[in-house]
């Protein structure tokens, strides 16, 4: 899903860059000093994990592969505002350090993989958790569905941008069906990786999953054996 330079014209690329800059500015403002020392390290760990997991392309159909985007996962783990920062860091490093995705395309790539996925992921997750029983299994199921839908949504955003500023001749309907279609398949992989990751963290440190915190019973504050210095 990392688009190289030249596919989409400058005005649309710049427009996407402006949108991303705005979203990052708002996210920075919203999140400054917002986490305690227990949860703040999670953001960095989520960035590292997603950046690593994105390196794994899995085969999806004849001659095609896909990889995790991670926006829905990040949104559920650390909340949507921190997730926007995490995803901007991940996609930014990929382009700047590893030349994965174009430099002038960076705004579009962050918008599609790091912001659309976060928004769709958190909305679907929150919507499902309204109706599902408030259990760990529901949280995992809702995460899987949110992750699944975030991928074709990201693909649809790309088609929209291409329709606005694509630099080659194209047939919109064909482009839409094939790009969104292949990303429905990639979405299955996204759902599996997201569900496994959320399940693993719920099993060990459920208190660190931002999306789960309000649904799970509060941990009792216990005084453990006294610490002698």
């Amino acid at each position: 899903m990392h688009m190289p330079d030249g596919l989409i014209n400058a005005p649309v690329s710049i427009g996407a860059g402006v949108l991303v800059a705005g979203a990052v500015a708002v996210s920075l403002k919203k999140t400054k000093g917002s986490l305690d020392s227990q949860t703040a390290p999670m953001a960095g760990l989520v960035a590292v994990f997603i950046s690593a997991a994105q390196m794994i392309n899995f085969p999806v159909a004849a001659g095609t592969s896909g990889h995790l985007m991670g926006g829905a996962l990040a949104a559920i783990l650390v909340g949507p505002w921190v997730a926007v920062l995490v995803m901007t860091v991940v996609v930014g490093i990929q382009a700047l350090v590893f030349a994965d995705g174009g430099l002038s395309a960076l705004g579009i790539n962050i918008l599609n993989m790091g912001i659309v996925t976060v928004i769709v992921g958190i909305l679907v997750f929150a919507g499902l958790m309204k109706v599902l029983p408030k259990t760990k299994s529901s949280i995992v199921a809702a995460s899987a569905i949110a992750a699944f839908l975030s991928v074709p949504a990201s693909a649809a955003a790309w088609v929209f941008e291409y329709a606005l500023g694509g630099t080659a001749t194209y047939e919109l309907q064909t482009v839409f069906i094939s790009v969104v279609g292949v990303h429905l398949l990639i979405g299955i992989g996204e759902a599996i990786i997201t569900a496994l990751t959320i399940a693993a963290i719920l099993a060990t440190r459920a208190d660190l999953v931002d999306g789960a915190r309000k649904f799970l019973p509060k941990q009792k504050l216990v005084i453990k054996d006294s610490v002698v210095a």
């Binding site: 899903m1 999140t31 305690d36 960095g44 760990l45 794994i56 292949v182």
Partner: protein
């Protein structure tokens, strides 16, 4: 699991994925790449300005062995993202909360 342990386990898992498993990743074009090539949407694509940088495509230029190159590339990726993550930590942390051991 303590925070410290979780961080260490998370880092080790990430390093294993980035440095070792990444070698076995599919090298087929990804969904977008495939469709844009099939439908000639990418006729005006250009290499990005840093496409021949030392770390392009998650390898390390000059390291002949592909497995070693991917290993180092993954490790560097984890390290750079980890540094950025540490920056995020200082931004996000409420300075008024007490550090717990």
């Amino acid at each position: 699991m303590s925070n410290k342990k979780l961080l260490i386990v998370g880092l080790i898992v990430s390093i294993v994925i980035a440095s070792i498993l990444s070698f076995y990743a599919s090298s087929q074009p990804d969904g977008l790449e495939k469709v844009t090539a099939d439908q000639s949407l990418d006729v005006n694509a250009v290499d990005s300005a840093n496409s021949d940088s030392a770390l392009a495509d998650y390898g390390v230029a000059g390291v002949e062995n592909e497995r070693a190159s991917a290993f180092l590339g993954g490790l560097i990726g984890v390290a750079i993202t980890g540094l950025a993550g540490a920056g995020l930590y200082f931004w996000l942390r409420d300075p008024n909360t007490v550090e717990t051991k």
